[in-house]
């Protein structure tokens, strides 16, 4: 069974926000909301400054607190490791929103909870998620971790990488190449 994940090269990302705009267009994200965002983290002191730019989104965790806290089962795992919300089962209690250490979810103006889907509709057709395919610096690699020959498996073996707050214990699946 596939286990999809995303690797994002922080050495390539220039923080142009194309991924953010692509997601909003592809997924009809309501105005004023976003499913992905750019974070710039600066360390050090002038002139030895170190800047890390990250495109962040739902981590499609393998041990997702949002799935655990959902009282109706609307938040669930889809085959392939996608963490999704079924709008018709969501009551809008917001337990998943407060349970997410990445603050990746929000209430859609129509009332249900919404977030990044890893563009499952595109992945099912063999395409990359919108953010991945639009990136002008090719900073993203999307693929199947179960396939040891996939590009993502290879890059995670060869490049030093990290996940965000692994200590929160959710087994996140967005990897940052550092």
């Amino acid at each position: 069974m596939a286990r999809y994940a995303m690797a994002i090269d922080t050495k390539r990302c220039v923080g142009c926000s194309d991924c953010v705009a692509a997601c909003q267009t592809e997924n009809n994200v309501p105005v004023g909301f976003c499913r992905d965002w750019i974070v710039e983290e600066m360390h050090g002191q002038y002139p030895t400054l170190d800047l890390e730019i990250r495109s962040e989104r739902c981590n499609h965790c393998a041990d997702s607190p949002c799935v655990r806290s959902c009282p109706t089962g609307a938040s669930h795992y889809e085959e392939g490791g996608f963490v999704l919300v079924t709008a018709e089962e969501c009551i809008g209690c917001k337990a998943c929103i407060v349970s997410c250490p990445y603050d990746a979810r929000y209430v859609h103006p129509e009332g249900y909870v919404d977030k990044c889907t890893f563009c499952i509709h595109r992945v099912k057709e063999g395409q990359d998620p919108a953010c991945v395919s639009v990136c002008p610096t090719h900073a993203f690699i999307f693929g199947d971790l179960e396939d040891t020959n996939s590009e993502i498996s290879k890059v995670l073996r060869s490049r030093k990488n990290k996940t965000l707050i692994p200590e929160a214990g959710t087994k996140p699946h967005i990897f940052y190449l550092i």
Binding site: G32, D36, W37, I91
Partner: protein, 317 residues
């Protein structure tokens, strides 16, 4: 220097700049749920102890308010839902991993049970009340015979309800200030304490007042002990938990928590009840009202502070 900025501009409503997914509805419900749990527990417990003739307010009168309190609480919960028409989905599944799921099922049991329980005392509280519908009258007579097992059920369910109001929050590891197992017992004890205060406020019987004054003092003392433990636990834990504790130890919640909750809500009523026991006359309404207000403010502060404590973007100003 360590600086974090979201440069693409994220301003998701209710999430940014600081999480505010839950407003007034949740603390109001947590307060009313805890209060209802306390009232039901005392009523059932003293009924089983055979005190229904001496502690009339606690056993018979106070439970009359419970269905109303729970209905208001559930109304608040319903208002909080953003996808309201789908609320029935709560009852198409049981998800044991989700405290909110078993909370919903507990309420489905305890709400009708509290109505049945108070119905059996209607005649005692309102002696001139006559049941106009013979079937209903026979049903209430039948319910009266079931009081003992109803009382046992209520004791278990009220403890679950009281604990659940805290566990609901403590199950969220994403919010460091909530993520402590102390919150379950703290809200349980605080709920029972507000229950005792509610009974104190209504009771006209000197013996009953003395009893509930004593119960309330013990509960307040336990609550203070649990609050000290809460902060000891945080300060001995990880960085995010230490930061969560500092929200109250010098941070933005310091003044409001230590004056309104710890001071006016716990220590002042404790001293007032102590003075009363020593023979000094303090109107009982004062400590009782303070305990109730303190309980309500505690829940507002905890719900708010939890949402202000986080793992990521802590350096963002």
């Amino acid at each position: 220097m360590h600086e974090i900025t979201i440069t693409s501009g994220r301003m998701n409503h209710g999430i940014d700049p600081v999480l505010h997914a839950w407003g007034w509805e949740i603390p109001v419900y947590l307060f009313l749920g805890g209060l209802a749990a306390g009232l039901l527990f005392f009523s059932a417990y003293f009924y089983l102890k055979g005190k229904d003739k001496t502690f009339i307010t606690a056993v018979k009168t106070a439970p009359m308010f419970v269905p109303l309190l729970l209905a208001i609480g559930l109304g608040a919960l319903f208002l909080d839902l953003s996808h309201k028409l789908y609320f029935w989905r709560l009852y198409t599944t049981i998800r044991l991993e989700s405290p909110m799921s078993w909370g919903a099922w507990t309420l489905l049991l305890i709400f009708p049970l509290s109505i049945f329980w108070s119905a059996t005392f209607l005649k005692d509280v309102f002696p001139r009340w006559e049941c106009k519908i013979p079937m209903l009258g026979r049903f209430i007579e039948w319910l009266k015979e079931q009081r003992t097992w109803m009382a046992y059920g209520l004791i278990i369910l009220s403890a679950v309800l009281g604990m659940y109001t805290g566990i609901l929050l403590s199950a969220f590891n994403a919010r460091p200030f909530w993520n402590t197992s102390i919150l379950g017992p703290l809200f349980l004890i605080s709920g029972f304490s507000t229950g005792a205060a509610f009974i104190l406020l209504m009771s006209k019987d000197a013996e009953e007042r003395r009893m509930f004054s004593r119960i309330d003092m013990v509960l307040i003392a336990i609550e203070l002990f649990l609050i000290v433990h809460l902060f000891m636990g945080f300060l001995a834990s990880t960085e995010v938990h230490i930061e969560a504790a500092h929200l109250f130890l010098g941070g933005p919640y310091t003044a409001v928590f230590w004056t309104l909750v710890a001071g006016l809500g716990l220590i002042v009523p404790l001293l007032a009840e102590l003075m009363e026991l020593r023979g000094l006359h303090v109107p009982v309404q004062i400590p009782a009202l303070l305990v109730l207000l303190g309980g309500l403010i505690l829940r507002f502060i905890v719900v708010d502070a939890g949402q202000s404590s986080r793992w990521l973007y802590k350096f963002m100003q």
